[in-house]
Symmetry: C2
Subunit: 448 residues, 2 copies
């Protein structure tokens, strides 16, 4: 029962999907709008590193690439919080258990790893530089153009899958038959945008600040984060209101940019010699959430960001998109390669979970920029770490989302919120500095 499958979008989700479906015996045509990213220069200012965690790793494990992905990753053991005057730097571990942490990985490096594997697979034909003009989602057909030419492409398969990201062209095919398929769709943008900057490598490729952490400079209504790269540099991102005080609208002149960083992030001015030039050169990006339904017809499916783009604040966009492949794989098992039935079950299982991570990601922006240096929040995290250390079956909200790939995002959200509410209330009412084993037992039994 081998099918001809057209996959639009050779990013992380699409290439992983191509590999897995090829292993299942299907013949894959993998189309990508960009030229081969392994050949070109990186585009400055686009998200260039990501936090890989257990859901993404479980999906990579499906195709035997987990170890090779870890080989190009840098462990981040927790959030390193930087105060405004640089006097306090505090590591908040991601878990109370030593084997639970996340990985900084280059989007480009991981994509190249996947594309190399796909290029070697006999069942996969990759075509770069193909722009989709029209997707016929009722009949698994796409019409497009070879980029930079007038050469027309017209392909039809048994199955069409759109993994072409938040601005999906395949999704346009669903929008266009809107009143017929009754395609529910929403896109919501944050009032905050982002700007990507860089802390260059120190002498001899060393890391100028702690290598094994995700650094945060929380400033309540805005923040900077930094993730380590293999070459000693850090990718730095400023998240800030488009229009505000402060806001990107007030940072138009070099002097304004320098003044803002000197006031709010003096430590970073020292670490980033190209700060002002990078700031002026790099685009200001917008952050949006996409939700839609249905994701499928009998022959076409949307996956990854094309179906459910999220804001980046839970570090789950890529992990969720790769987990999509693992869940679809299970659905194909369940329905003996009957695509239409598998798509139906896939959406039933998956939609509530991608809705949940979308909401969690928006919530987490407030947590990262505003709560991580709040005493109650820190007290809560300390109790959670003690619980995780002493009770193997306890997991905080962050832990459930990040390290528990057998628990769906929706359940993680529900349990996590209940735990957070109880613990924040407890921390507000009790002195939590010297908890005894009996205190912890009592908290544990309340929470579980």
């Amino acid at each position: 029962m081998s099918s001809n499958v057209i996959i639009c979008g050779a990013g992380l989700c699409g290439t992983l999907l191509a590999l897995r479906l090829a292993e299942r015996g299907h013949r894959i045509t993998l189309l990508e709008k960009r030229e081969d990213p392994r050949k070109g220069a990186l585009v400055a200012g686009r998200s260039i590193n990501l936090a890989l965690s257990d859901r993404g790793l479980a999906a990579l494990d499906l195709i035997g690439l987990k170890k090779r992905a870890l080989d190009i990753s840098i462990p981040m053991l927790g959030r390193m919080i930087h105060s405004i005057d640089g006097s306090i730097t505090r590591l908040l571990p991601y878990s109370g258990r030593p084997d639970e942490f996340i990985q900084s990985i280059s989007r480009h490096g991981l994509n190249a790893l996947l594309l190399d594997a796909a290029g070697e697979h006999a069942n996969i034909d990759i075509q770069f530089g193909i722009s989709i003009q029209h997707a016929d989602v009722r009949h698994a057909r796409v019409a497009g153009l070879k980029m930079g030419t007038t050469e027309k492409i017209d392909l039809s398969g048994d199955i069409l899958i759109g993994t072409d990201g938040a601005g999906s062209d395949v999704r346009q095919g669903f929008m266009q038959i809107g009143s017929n398929i009754r395609f529910n769709y929403r896109q919501d943008w944050l009032d905050h945008g982002y700007k990507e900057l860089e802390i260059p490598a120190g002498p001899g490729g060393t890391w100028s600040i702690e290598k094994n952490a995700l650094h945060i400079w929380p400033r309540h209504s805005f923040m900077v984060i930094a993730l380590p790269n293999l070459d000693g540099s850090f990718t730095v991102t400023l998240f800030l209101a488009f229009d505000g005080q402060p806001g990107f609208n007030q940072l138009n002149q070099k002097e304004e940019v320098l003044d803002f960083f000197q006031t709010q992030f003096p430590e970073l001015v020292q670490l980033m010699p190209n700060l002002v030039d990078d700031f002026m050169l790099h685009p200001t990006g917008a952050l949006g959430t996409v939700k839609c339904s249905p994701w499928h017809t009998d022959q076409t499916l949307l996956m990854g960001d094309a179906a459910h783009a999220v804001v980046p604040f839970y570090g789950q966009g890529m992990n969720c998109a790769m987990e999509d492949v693992r869940i679809l794989d299970q659905c194909l098992d369940l329905h003996n390669e009957n695509w239409s039935e598998a798509f139906n079950t896939y959406q039933l299982l998956r939609k509530k979970n991608t809705d949940a991570i979308a909401d969690l990601a928006v919530e987490n922006y407030t947590e990262m920029r505003d709560h991580v240096d709040n005493p109650n929040f820190i007290a809560k995290r300390q109790i959670e770490m003690q619980l995780e250390k002493n009770y193997p079956d306890y997991a905080s909200k962050y832990n459930l989302v990040t390290f528990c790939e057998d628990i769906g995002y929706a359940d993680a959200k529900e349990r996590g919120h209940a735990q957070d509410d109880w613990l924040l209330d407890y921390c507000a009412k009790n002195d939590t500095r010297n908890l005894t084993a009996a205190d912890l037992d009592k908290i544990y039994s309340e929470l579980m």
Copy 2:
């Protein structure tokens, strides 16, 4: 300060807007995709009559056409509820005050009235059969095609306003610059669709059922409604789940249609000799809500269904779209014809109200099909009528929405919900059959 204004969409909102802006001294180019509706045959199965009420009338009054609209309308004093066996027919008046009722009007007739007026205005140039291919919402430019030809149209003005309905082409211009303008957008479809049918006129152009009412055959999970036309016919609409028991999916054969109506609406089988043929011939329509934001750039604005399409169950879609014109008119007064400032204030004032009517319209579907024959609901309506009769400043939720054009939909929703909750609770706990003047006084003082 006369501006060149391009208005896309010569439906009820766009033509009324053209007339009002022309009266303000602007020069209007009014573009319409369809051919002149005054020349062609009506399209069967599209919504062909509407409930005109005070918000729409207030907007028509702006351009002096209120009386002429009323001349082609039929008053509907209340909802006439038809039970399944035809034994009970009960009129639930829309208000306890005799001068508060709604009007059945033909969409085509009202549009023709407006187009005739626009055609006579020296400041308005109407062009039919123009399909918009691209709207440049930053610069008030549209590119299009003369329908049925390859003749290209390229127009630019000082201001561009999209009144081109729920499937707006101008709105596409906002979608296309999505990450730049950060255009929030959502479309949500109901699981129920509709089919338009007809009760033909009786002998000599008489009405076969009560003329001055909006008829409802409520059947809990579905319903039929009928609105009177001037020629003695009624426009009949079945609202039913697409997939359900019953559902449109089960009504594919003529025998199935007849059997369904004979079981559920025997009275209508008698009244509609062409029932089965009409059912098979007419399309099944979908019902959707569109919400978006921002509605404007400095030079372009979305109005009416293009900005906020609603489902039809509050009879407010047209009234709301025409009220848009009245509110924009006030904003142009306020800002001395400064369009950009007027657009900004318009959205600030208007968005919460159009969001509210969208939500009220979805809620009202449940009320119309399921609650209107519920004893508690009927008891509540009877108290509300007594309150409206005896206390000139009392208004039910329906009354606030329909007859109080000085109160925004958002306030109407909030007050209306609070009143409904209190009254339904009261009716559940008390025998309301013989309320005294003192009882009413007490209820009134609780509610106000």
